[in-house]
């Protein structure tokens, strides 16, 4: 019995940091509507800075002072980030802010390694809390008890801050109606900056307080950000009490899950989140969002099928790409195949995101399922490659059909989080069901048949499939189904009113996107000759998002360009520099600030501006581009 009590207390202690970070994220989202992906990065910097300060400063005052100073210092970094970067992009579509903060996260990951080195750092124990308390023969670290008390104390302070101060009242007012707050004479800029500072302070404090419990390392950010997203979604975005309850719930699930279901402990948390989202989509303490979200497809340039000239240009580009094996070596061909495969992946997500308005944060699940499908068929059933390629993606299709059914019941940020949860569940199964999937060791020796084995043939195969998939999805965009899908994206109510079954249309789109991603994954398995759980991991899902946003979410062909640029740059950078994340992250941030419409969006804008310069027509009515040339 005592053992379970101790386990419970350990869970409560872990909840403290989780709560600090999650409440910070929640506060920032409430006012600025930014889902701050960099929140994990601020948590990590908080831990690193606190490590340095507590090493340098001596005594009890040095330790506690160091913790607080670290949080303040990181909050100041947050202020700079808000003023220099975020202020420029508050009016950009919400996913762009996510992209920008993701770019920051990448940069931070390299910067901390540069400053503090790649090794784990073990910090000082907290003065006064070094020992352990005996509880019926079980030891409880006294620092854990300190954290258990700290959580509710911080909750109380935050409550007072929001209920009893003018700043808190303004923040709560701005959470509901930012424009009205400005119309009452409040400078929103500083309100936003201060909210961001408080949120980052909480994240950094959460990180700093971890050093007596855990080693500081450069992958802390991704691990916490996923958990924090889960906490915030379960508790309800914008609710601090919700963040507290959910942090406790998640930490206890982790603490007991490992005892009771050691095999599925990772899944447990995501399972709970999925159930909460399905039963109460706005979280336990959140409120249903009434405000209409901005449609990503709302653009000055209406989408249109390609003109015959553009069709020729696309064909010419494809033909040129097909000549690569004539002069390139094996390495270049393998890179080319990989890029083609990622074009398939990005195009499939783009279809869901831009056409359907459904931004999936777990799209890699279907890519990975396609890859595992191939591995099962080729390795276990020993089927020939052509059969495998036709059947393998079906696993992605089935996965998308099951998960998609639940996911399309939600929209916006909650849709994104549910897809993330499903992807994590699939990842956990692949990771932990060792007897079938090989776990972390993956499944090796998945090689293509001889007809496609040579690098040039495999390249042609990948290129051909990528071209086919892109054309097929483009046709779908301009089909009646595509129009119906766009209608559900732009106005769910109106599309229902004209007899479109929105959920069914979105579900179909989800299955199409998942199956297409599965095709990409299938080819990827053959390209690499192996399948690993990483093929359905979060970082791959994020890669896909970045590719789509980089190309331009408001364009039809953005994903193709985005995938080529991102993947090529990524591969090239990794070969050129040890700081590839820093450069890539910086590149993403610059793109978001300078070209908020993505690469293709920017090109379209330039083309439109040029064509508009000659005839002095009304500047307000955008000319259809079709008549431009």
């Amino acid at each position: 019995m005592a053992f379970y009590v101790v386990q419970f207390l350990t869970g409560l202690a872990s909840a403290a940091s989780l709560f600090l970070v999650a409440s910070g994220l929640s506060i920032i989202f409430g006012v600025t509507r930014i889902v701050n992906f960099a929140h994990g990065a601020f948590y990590m910097i908080g831990a690193y800075v606190a490590f340095t300060l507590t090493e340098r400063l001596s005594g009890a005052f040095g330790f506690w002072g160091g913790i607080v100073m670290a949080a303040i210092a990181v909050a100041l970094i947050g202020v700079i980030v808000e003023m220099v970067l975020l202020r420029r992009i508050y009016h950009a579509p919400e996913l762009f802010q996510l992209l920008a903060t993701f770019g920051l996260t990448l940069m931070v990951e390299d910067i901390v390694v540069l400053v503090w080195g790649p090794d784990d750092l073990v910090g000082r124990r907290a003065p006064g809390f070094r020992g352990a308390v005996d509880f019926f023969g079980q030891n409880i670290p006294s620092y854990d008890l300190f954290l258990i008390v700290l959580g509710p104390v911080v909750l109380g302070i935050l409550w007072l801050l929001f209920q009893r101060t003018r700043w808190g009242v303004l923040v709560r007012a701005a959470t509901q109606d930012r424009d009205m707050v400005a119309a009452l004479g409040v400078n929103q800029k500083w309100l936003f900056t201060s909210v961001f500072a408080v949120g980052v302070f909480l994240a950094a404090l959460g990180g700093a307080l971890q050093i007596p419990r855990d080693a500081v390392h450069h992958a802390m950010d991704l691990r916490i950000i996923v958990e924090v997203f889960v906490v915030v979604v379960i508790g309800g975005l914008g609710s601090i009490v919700g963040a507290f309850v959910a942090a406790v719930l998640v930490s206890e699930l982790n603490a007991f899950g490992i005892l009771i279901f050691p095999k599925i402990s990772i899944i447990l948390v995501f399972l709970v989140m999925a159930v909460v989202l399905i039963v109460r989509p706005w979280g336990l303490f959140g409120r249903p969002e009434a405000a209409a979200r901005k449609t990503p497809g709302l653009t000055v340039n209406p989408w249109r099928p390609l003109t015959s000239n553009e069709r020729l240009a696309a064909l010419a580009a494809l033909a040129m790409a097909a000549t690569l094996p004539l002069f390139a070596g094996n390495y270049a061909l393998s890179v080319g195949s990989e890029i083609a495969i990622f074009v398939i992946f990005a195009v499939s997500l783009h279809f869901l995101m831009s056409v359907g308005g459904l931004a999936s944060f777990g799209h890699a699940a279907y890519f990975g399922l396609g890859a595992y499908g191939i591995a099962f068929l080729a390795k276990m059933a020993g089927l020939p490659m052509i059969v495998c390629l036709l059947l393998g993606p079906l696993l992605g299709c089935v996965g998308a059909a099951v998960f998609g059914f639940f996911a399309v019941q939600l929209s916006g940020v909650y849709f994104a989080m549910l897809t993330l949860a499903f992807a994590q569940i699939v990842w956990s199964i692949a990771f932990q069901w060792v007897s079938v999937t090989g776990g972390d060791n993956g499944i090796l020796g998945v090689w293509p048949s001889s007809w496609a084995a040579s690098p040039s043939r495999f390249y042609w195969l990948s290129l051909g499939v990528a071209a086919l998939v892109t054309v097929a999805l483009r046709i779908a965009v301009f089909s009646p189904f595509g129009y119906a899908l766009r209608a559900t994206r732009d106005s769910p109510l109106r599309s229902e009113a004209i007899g479109i079954d929105a959920k069914r249309i979105q579900w179909t789109a989800f299955v199409i996107a998942g199956t297409t991603a599965g095709i990409g994954g299938a080819l990827f398995a053959y390209l690499k000759g192996s399948v690993f759980p990483d093929n359905l991991g979060i970082s791959l899902s994020v890669d896909a998002l970045v590719m789509v946003l980089l190309g331009g979410v408001e364009t039809v062909s953005g994903a193709v360009i985005g995938a080529i640029v991102y993947k090529a740059l990524n591969i090239w950078l990794v070969s050129q520099t040890d700081l590839s994340k820093l450069v890539l992250g910086g590149f993403i941030v610059v793109i978001v600030v300078v070209f908020p419409k993505g690469i293709v969006g920017m090109l379209e804008m330039l083309a439109q501006r040029r064509s508009k310069a000659s005839p002095p027509g009304s500047p307000l009515l955008a000319k259809p581009i079709g008549s431009a040339e």
Partner: protein, 234 residues
């Protein structure tokens, strides 16, 4: 002049909404902006306080051109705005709603305190801790005016204060606006209801399809029944 608007043009995306709007408000005056639904009254107000992204023209408030200033600066300068949709913070209590509007004292404008406002709108004083979302339409209308007055404005843009209110509440509203005038606040009030406007205003402008088509005293307006019948639905 307290407020001078000249050549004000506004657009919503590709749609041109306001065409060369111009009018003036003298110190301590109550001016009505009359017009039908969709005539451009609310857009005029939104443009003056800088809530319309696409606008051009000159807006001179107390001798300073504020047309390029951000909303919060215009409002802090003493130009208060009460939106038509009321936009009460529903999660905040009456008291907290007032707190959001609070600004420092101003030399050239009456100073409003909570006590003074609760005397002006007695209903509000009885529900200080009630969340804004649980108030009736009339109570919300009073709160939204009181909230703007907390900023101690020298001029208030009042967008359709009588809309959707019961006759009894409208009477209270007339009293409140007269008190505001007596305290020295200049007021521009947009209205569809000529009867209501006549009770409070010194002068009136009529706006139709985004253009000002009449300006004069209430007596002059009464002398032109043709204009009144053409542009206002009674």
């Amino acid at each position: 002049m307290k407020l001078t608007v000249e050549g004000l043009n506004s657009h919503y995306g590709p749609a041109h909404i306001l065409f060369d709007i111009g009018f003036e408000v003298a110190d301590g005056e109550v001016v009505a902006l009359l017009g039908r639904n969709g005539a451009g009254k609310s857009t005029t107000f939104r443009s003056i306080v800088g809530l319309m992204a696409q606008r051009s023209g000159r807006i001179v408030f107390e001798g300073r051109d504020v047309s390029a200033r951000p909303t919060h600066e215009i409002v802090r300068g003493g130009l208060g705005y009460v939106p038509e949709e009321r936009r009460i913070f529903t999660d905040l209590t009456v008291d907290e709603n007032l707190e959001v509007g609070r600004q420092p004292k101003r030399a050239n404008a009456p100073h409003w305190t909570r006590e003074k406002l609760f005397a002006l709108f007695p209903n509000l004083g009885e529900m200080k801790n009630r969340p804004g979302g649980r108030m009736s339409g009339g109570e919300q209308q009073m709160l939204t005016i009181a909230r703007t007055l907390m900023g101690n404005p020298s001029l208030v843009l009042l967008d359709e204060p009588s809309e959707g209110l019961s006759p009894k509440i409208v009477e209270q509203m007339v009293d409140a606006i007269r008190t505001m005038k007596k305290e020295g606040v200049s007021i521009v009030v947009s209205e569809q209801n000529l009867h209501f406007a006549r009770l409070i205003s010194d002068r009136a402008y009529i706006i139709e399809r985004g253009r000002i088509c009449f300006g004069g005293t209430m007596v002059e307006l009464d002398a032109r029944p043709d204009i009144r019948d053409a542009h206002l639905s009674l």
